[in-house]
Amino acid sequence: MKTIVSVLLLSLGLAGPAWAQGTKPQPVDPAKLEAITKAMWPRTPQGWENRISFDETQKLCSQYRNELPNDVFEKVRAREVATVKFPADGQVLGDWKAGRRIANDGRGGTFTDRPMTNGANCYACHQMEPAELSYGTLGPSLHLYGKNRGFSPDEAKATYAKIYNSMSVMPCSTMPRFGYHAFLTEQQMKDVTALLFDPESPVNK
């Protein structure tokens, strides 16, 4: 079927970019790509040593454009699962009121920001409490998230892991690995987990 369609498109002259009929762009030489990125960022700014990465998982997600073959998918997931650290006391729920502030805070971490505690900016991608209309649509709505899961402690723990390392659940997820990169602190992650799982939280109303 696919071939029929592309033959049809070809004959209509609609087969994508003009060069598709002639020379194809050359596949990228990984060494060349590394040299180019090195020239974009020749020095590591002070204080950024732990912030700059191109780890094995990022490399694979880039290479496969986030669509991993099954065997690679499972390998990546196992590696990411192994990075998740739960709070020592096993308590994953913090203060939903603090979580509410953190989820809405989009400041921190850019090269024009002064040093500060990073906000999580969950609203960049998710709907959460219905009263907040300024939310993005890159991720699913999280309205009623805890309620729909019966406020289950196991679900809360799984959600903490999701926030700590989204790729431990879904390799190549769009969602940042907040704990893995230490972008958020343990307390901040507990607080946003509470925002999703506290029965009093406006997310569950």
Binding site: P27, L33, A39, S62
Partner: protein, 276 residues
Amino acid sequence: MANRVMRLVALLALLGTGAAAWAQQASPVDTEKELEKYRAMINDPMSNPGYLNVDRGEVLWATPRGAKNVSLETCDLGMGPGKLEGAYARLPRYFADADKVMDLEQRLLWCMQKIQDLDTADIIRRRFGAPGRISDMEDLVAFIANKSSGMRYEAPLAHAKEQEAYAIGEALFYRRSDIMDFSCATCHSEDGRRIRLQALPNLVKAGKNAQDTMGSWPTYRVSQSQTRTMQHRLWDCYRQMRAPEPVYLSDGLTALTLFLVKQGEGGEINVPSIKR
């Protein structure tokens, strides 16, 4: 002149309403209506502050400068020395004399160095305009890009180095890295998505989204009160990605720009435009 000032005031008031509506989280549809109103005004040179850059760029282009005390008027932007019409619509492109694919700003810097023997450290220091700091690059780009208004982007990728730059640009677009695991594709690979309330153009597929986007740069950014080039746009996206600051005029940014221009091929250029 008085006329220009009046229209500017009217436009800024209109934009102000738009911004306020945004802050009050008006529905995206309302915001879109506000945006439409001022998009309708962008073709009017009397009310778009970006045309001040165009005027200054025109003067700069013809002003003798540098150790050789000559103007840029013999600079070849790809269409032949001094030929400006349509040049921007074909950039970035391969230049045999430099043996390199260059975007407009890289090429201008090259001409400043080779033709004028200008000390470009100061040009680079003033790469992005700010209150009290006029950018020669923003002025020159506004002037030169405007000479392609009404024309359409073309990226034939005829030269092997152009094909290579395109492929590198595409790979960079999908390259996930650093503390947020973002790539350009994180925010620009689906139709109709938003981050907070900001609509995100889908730039991985050729077509209208990419055409409208690329056809509107350089643009006067009302939120910054400056005319910005694609170099600045990419700088700002890497900033949002929490990446370190990318080097101005680095080849990676040019490769990305060529990739984007290819996606937006056929799009009509209408610049300087005006945006939020």
